[in-house]
Symmetry: C2
Amino acid sequence: MEQVKEKASSCWLVDRNNISALFSDNALHINAILFPETASPVLDNLKKEFSAFSPTTAEKGKSLLFSLDSDGRRAGSFTLRHDEDVIEVSASEMTGLLYGWFELMKRLQLKDFSCGTYLSDSPAITIRMLNHWDNMDGTIERGYAGRSLFFTENRFIGDHEKTGRYARLLASAGINALTINNVNVHQVETRLITQEYRQALIELCDLFRGWGIQLFLSVNYASPIELGDLTTADPLDAQVKAWWRHCFDALYRDIPDFGGVVVKADSEHRPGPFTYHRTHADGANMLGEALAPHGGLVFWRCFVYNCQQDWRDRQTDRARAAYEHFAPLDGQFRENVILQIKNGPMDFQVREPVSPLLGAMPATNQVLELQITQEYTGQQIDLFWLVPQWKTILAFDTRLSSGPSTIEDLVCGRANAMPHAGVTAVVNTGDDRFWTGHVLAQANLYGYGRLLWNPAIEAGVLAREWSQLTFGTDAEVTRTVSEMLLSSGQVYEDYTAPLGVGWMVNPHHHYGPNIDGYEYDVWGTYHYADRNGLGVDRTLESGTGYVALYAPENCQLYNDLQRCPDELLLFFHFLRYDHRLKNGKSVIQHIYDTHFSGVEAVEGFIQRWQKLATLIPSDIHRNVAERLEKQKKNASEWRDRINTYFYRKSGIDDNKGRKIYK
Amino acid sequence: MEQVKEKASSCWLVDRNNISALFSDNALHINAILFPETASPVLDNLKKEFSAFSPTTAEKGKSLLFSLDSDGRRAGSFTLRHDEDVIEVSASEMTGLLYGWFELMKRLQLKDFSCGTYLSDSPAITIRMLNHWDNMDGTIERGYAGRSLFFTENRFIGDHEKTGRYARLLASAGINALTINNVNVHQVETRLITQEYRQALIELCDLFRGWGIQLFLSVNYASPIELGDLTTADPLDAQVKAWWRHCFDALYRDIPDFGGVVVKADSEHRPGPFTYHRTHADGANMLGEALAPHGGLVFWRCFVYNCQQDWRDRQTDRARAAYEHFAPLDGQFRENVILQIKNGPMDFQVREPVSPLLGAMPATNQVLELQITQEYTGQQIDLFWLVPQWKTILAFDTRLSSGPSTIEDLVCGRANAMPHAGVTAVVNTGDDRFWTGHVLAQANLYGYGRLLWNPAIEAGVLAREWSQLTFGTDAEVTRTVSEMLLSSGQVYEDYTAPLGVGWMVNPHHHYGPNIDGYEYDVWGTYHYADRNGLGVDRTLESGTGYVALYAPENCQLYNDLQRCPDELLLFFHFLRYDHRLKNGKSVIQHIYDTHFSGVEAVEGFIQRWQKLATLIPSDIHRNVAERLEKQKKNASEWRDRINTYFYRKSGIDDNKGRKIYK
């Protein structure tokens, strides 16, 4: 019991103190560990892995060999070999050794490593990034797992022990890039690029460098003004260009391998090039030019839309915004500028189609932006395992070329000839003792990293893998946890917003139901429910024409009421309550049915989890059990408000006669 | 122009520096001012009124004589006499002289004071109180006129000059009692009754005493615990009783004429006797007993309801709460305890029936609580003159006895034989240079005071009087201002919530439309709109039975759909959209019509006000003009949201074909 607890508190990754035991458990007697004779911070960390390790004195012991070869494989690739006398991790550079070591640990935990094993592996996606939305006062925007790991009271915390454990955890999930501060760069955070915070930043980069992770900063586009030097931030102004060049020259003098910057510009009241009547290409390229001499990158977010829309305006469609702002600029961005595009055209809703901008700019670097932190998906109170959603996104075929054209192809760099591609995501961690608030939300972070390494891995395999690494290999535990994870997204979708409609949440904090919460507001987020039906008409004939932003086949699919996938129907169409879905149910009956069944499913979670009480460490069991009770309360509120709201509008009774409050 | 400006900034009341001019303007040559030979802080202030006064040296000058007689009239009563040689203000005590002097100034301003005038006047209502909802950090709960006049940064400001002008202003409106702190008594404010703030409180009492105004404090019922002395606040606990007695003994030792306390207990998460399974009589009487030796009063608020109601619960009716909590306790309260009862059963909505608790406890002291600060009535951005609403309340006949039984009878002390009666109100002032943010909102404060002095005064007379005192006697100004004031309440009601339904506002701050903002919440505030109709069924037969709390005649009136006044229909009945009102219009057409006409009326205000540009000091004109523009924007938003919401629900077109967004 104690051992399981220890493992679980540090998640899926074996604590360094338990590595001896891991080899013993697998009856592997290691009597020598050999490293390449090279100086490297990664190697230093690898050596430290064995600081609590006692080599065997047995005659029949094996050597554990870390070796570098000159195969010139992709960064991070490794080979793992288990022979009679030797276990060898080999790679052509240091991070390969690191990932090979994590793979070895994983296989030992899963009892899936025997003599004769020989495997080669390499990451499918090059940029495997996380974005922290941490503020320097210690709060985290959309954070549900405590306070910032990096900042408090407008300074760096500097807890290298804890941050080191965190970096190791991320490295074990294959993460290789990280921003440490919120994309909404407030006053104090604007100064993160200045000398004022340089020493702390150097130390943090040193720390993460040892785990193969490059750091980036989110920067304020108006820095030249806000830091008090200039009166403009016009990207074509010579002084502005010189200001940024000078700024980055100084930064890279101190940290030569610094990653670069992430920018949220002209979005939700953030400053940007529009102020100066310049394009986003002008804005991003100016930063790219200043970073180019140092090999730095610009991640330029495409979350640009009119956040002062009039709800009366039925012509403007927020879903069109990113495409319309950026697609015309294809080919105009520098080679070290990467557009960062949210998975959907709106904003991390439970269900959205894939953004039409993804893949629509063949001459532009793109990364897909996901959200691991559960802003609209339960806030780490309600269970929502995001891997199935992400797999749906990766599998989407944009049909924008005759060559490889899925989102997976795009993020793996197969869809075009651009130098950079990958995925980034808003992370779900904080200083919570389990890192993620809800223990099972760890599976989102783990699943994210694993999926970026290998998008082909099945969701079910991943769910079982995380459960076994975290809770051990008890079959009932594995079955329960993995089945809960796998169904959790559908369950949440069932009891919240139906058929892709979105936005029926409480304004500001985004937890819990508020059906009209965003209906008459400025955010471009409407469901248009009336006494006849609901949904947003985005068709060619009678709607906003948004469907036309997709390739013809997808356009036709979504435009056609009969072919459009049920789960996205209300995203693309206004439907009458008595419209029949593909399963023959009316829209209103689907709403009632899914809301009743969603709550029942949560009750099922509670019962199933209860049965694991003796099989899971008590603090973890309680952590999840408490959240499941809150989830049930939330789910019941969703059920009743949604059902009442639509009953009052439609006047149509539930055909099963269940309780709907009038 | 400059003179008008000066007068307006200091409101309806002539600045002390202009008193010489006031007599000159009226061709009254005063060559001597005579006061009684008595020591009195009120007299000191009266003498100071003439500090900038230059007596005439003309032969035919008059004496201005302040004299005390021994008629033993009601406190505040005065006689005003204008003879050939003398102008005399006489009274049987000091505040009478004060009010007589203000009456004299008013008549001089209105050019309504000639030789031969002889008048006697006395206040109809004894308790003429104001409640400040000021917090010690300087904020004002529901305040729309700047920051607190009394507090900043958890201390008293101590600006005796400004506070003195404010006290003079209130005295000129006849106010004689005042609480200085919020009924929600937070942590720091709990300490206001302790020695820590005693010196500042003494000084403030000294200041207000000179204007005939007695001070009160809002106190925290849990003070014995929160101030750290006891572990209980149980009103029957001997230690608790002793604690309060000791507390008040010390307070009255320093301020022997202190007024007493106001208490919000067991309301919206405030502590109270319910914690100890005691009644509100137990709670209030314990405080009353401790105050009795000093002649202090307890104002005990009746705003007690379940603020954690489940919206699914159709049986619980918040409107019943105050009555049900308090009516059974009639006769159990001490003679120095006064129940403070909001005018309506809900919470200061634009339109509510009169609270059934008012007049329903013949053996209990009661005061009516009004709200001058415009929480739900436009927040001193939108114009809403409250006097007509208050007159409607005062005129309401409870029919609870065969004797005098209107609310006016109640607050004037004619309805029963209890020692105390009166009115209190949440005030609308702050440190704003015009005191009330919106200059025209001064008319609410003035109107409140005048109505308490004389409830019989016509609203139109009051509107003209305030306008003339503030802006001078120009006929166009008087007509425009008074007509705007008189129609403003109906206009606001027209473009906001229809037919008495209430609560269709943005949660928390309560400005602007949010039709479902309180519909699925915990506050007991629902309109139940569905595709067929809207409104709360409070009838005997099918509703919550709330109507039964009224005397039989009123119960029958409200219960009968055909007789219930239109403006309260949706408060008492759920009505179909096609239900015909008394004027033959359907409910839905009434909603559309009033919302279009409400906005048009605001546009009319703007045009009319514009015409006064050269007749009103420019800063004041701009103050109002800016607010009218904001009001128009707000009114338009109300119109469109309400119309769209109910069109979407009802599907019924406007019969005049005006623009309703779909």
